[in-house]
Amino acid sequence: MFFSQLGYYSLICGLIFSVILVPIAYKDLSIAKTSISSNIFIFTSLQLIFVFLSFICLVISFINSDFSNEIVYNNSHTTKPLFYKISGTWGNHEGSLLLCLLILVLFIFIFLITSKREPKKYQIFTLLFQEVIIIGFFLFLLITSNPFNHLFPAPKEGLGLNPILQDPILAIHPPILYLGYIGSSIILSSSIAAIIQNYVNSQWAKNLKNWVIISWFFLTIGIVLGSIWAYYELGWGGFWFWDPVENISLMPWLCLTALVHSVIVLEKRSMLATWTLILSISSFTLSMCGTFLVRSGILNSVHAFANDPKRGVFILIFLFLLIIISLFIFFVFYKEIKIEQKSFLFSKEISILINNWFMMYFLSVVLIGTVYPIFLEVIANEKISVGPPFYNKLLIPFLIPFLFFMSIGPSMKWIRHNIKLINVRLILLFLLSSFVSYLILIRTNLNTLFTTILLVVSIYLFFITVRDFFIKNQKNFSQKISHFGFSLLILSIVLNGIFSSEVITNIKIGEKYEFSNGSIYFENIKSSKKQNYMSFVGTFRIIENNNKEILLRPELRIFNQPITITSEADIKTNFIGDKFLVMNLVKGNEYYNIRYQTKPFMIWIWLSAILMGSGALTNFFKRR
């Protein structure tokens, strides 16, 4: 009760300080001092403190199960474990927006502290544009989705959090993903500032690069966490499903990946300035579009919280305003720096450009596949869906040249690289990778030309990235780790695709099911009562052709608040692969629907993706 009130008023205080900050910052533009005035720091800190206070109040309301607060009532329950009470704070629309706002004000604060060496006007314009976004979020929160709405009389018990969201990984997935999404706001703001100040140069690129790396890192980790969660909690039994909601997080990721590369060219060679700006503006726009599509309920998914058309309209208007302002500033103020730079076909900058083209192609495929069904529904009222075959068909063929370019590009020199047509070592590596793929493919009955080439190229890339660690210069250590992580990721995905197998059947207790190279025996099922759900654990004895017996115990959970059934897959993980068993109740019937999957190298997919993301961070450590 008290904390809700406090939270609401500190949110309003935060808004007041942000509004005051705008004229103060504007006035400071005409003052001839070289550093920005201390008032700006004070107000930015106040803004941060009050938003933080407001967020803490909401967390406390959740911990205390204060059901006089509407969103606590809608999303919490007294029997819920403490950890999930806290994570329930951002497990809903209002709370997650407040978290976004907190990240926005935190990032501009960090920006002001760390960019003291940058030109003053550039800092102020970044702040001003960031404030526009911040005030937009404030208004959105207070007008359409106030997290401190009051309920009177206060209900005795809450409605509970969706049980599939009660999971440790999902508790941290949203904050990390938001750090990635919202982190790109600084990229947008500072690009706009750089355009106005005519500061689009290598010095700026150096500053921007840090922010790009930070958002890219968080976005990568956020996507991986979401993917791990979908693997074991939704029982999808894979790592990527081309679900529209996944695609939406992939689009800004592809854009940021392109940006991470192009910003280096701008830093080292003062080239691709315009292109870098376009990417900077697009990455935040894509993040916001994603928020719009998910939050407005246009895409039906786990992420669509209670839908309110007003919210969709608000985000849409806000989004259009941001895009129009950005484009206006881009076209009116932007003066391209004309530096004659010589580049040859075989050079690092050209190979990075090729990387960017591929990224843009991948991005447009994902964009069209995700957005086209929505347009068709609006225009022709036809309902369609675009599934994995579409993406597989369009992406995998282009992956082959992409991987090939990736194996030769990074070792090229800037400006001009003298390419030796006959490099014995590379040819030997290529032969070795062909031989290894032959050894792998001979164990399967898959021998299409396509898979073979894909496997050869990904093993080749893997060898090349391993070799790169043994090259003496330690200059690009973070790049080496990230590229190694990526090659391991692709290799694990390809091997996973080749060797996965699954068995689906309906089975009764005490029955034995025989499949081509083994059998599944359903021993028993045990029920027990847990804190906020009933648990049913089945025991399955699985024998495969190598005669090794494994026991798997998948679980069904029946939650009472709200009444929901979830199934927890049982997964035996080791370094070679996962054994995955999930069971479902079909009807009040003795038959259980089970799916048994062998998924090789699953753990490598997660580990390599995390390694790829973390590689970027070593960039920050080595400087100290």
Partner: protein, 139 residues
């Protein structure tokens, strides 16, 4: 007539344009082939011919219609006007229940039978496919 530089630039831009047009063409072409249309049981009833194309049917699982044995699950999808039988062997999601919304993807055998390859039910307890919602509201 023109310098080498201009020629190179023209070549570069035309290459870029060609590749952009090609890739857009490619995307749209395969979009056409891989799109799965979404229909309601009533729309199936009104079809004039049955194409051998993958479709999705959405509606509610009819009460007391699920029949299960060790191989198959069969049930009836209804939009409260028309119905269609579905035969399926595969894994089912948790929220696949009688009286709940469901989407089945597969091939039509005839106007009253769908051989499904995939079943989707939404994760939300209160979910109802939009078509069904519309149909119910019209009543």
């Amino acid at each position: 007539m023109y310098g080498k530089k201009v020629k190179l630039r023209v070549l570069f831009i035309s290459l870029l344009l060609i590749s952009v047009i090609l890739s857009i063409f490619l995307i749209l072409k395969s979009l056409e082939e891989n799109v799965v249309y979404f229909l309601s049981p009533t729309e199936i009833r009104n079809l004039t011919e049955i194409e051998n194309k993958k479709i999705r049917i959405g509606g509610m699982v009819k009460d007391n219609s699920i029949v299960i044995d060790s191989e198959n699950i069969s049930f009836v999808i209804t939009d409260f006007k028309n119905e269609i039988n579905v035969n399926y062997s595969g894994s089912v999601p948790n929220l696949f229940k009688e009286g709940k919304g469901v989407v089945a993807e597969g091939f039509l055998k005839d106007k009253s039978l769908l051989i499904a390859e995939k079943i989707l039910a939404k994760h939300d307890e209160n979910y109802m496919p939009p078509e069904v919602k519309e149909a119910l509201e019209k009543k």
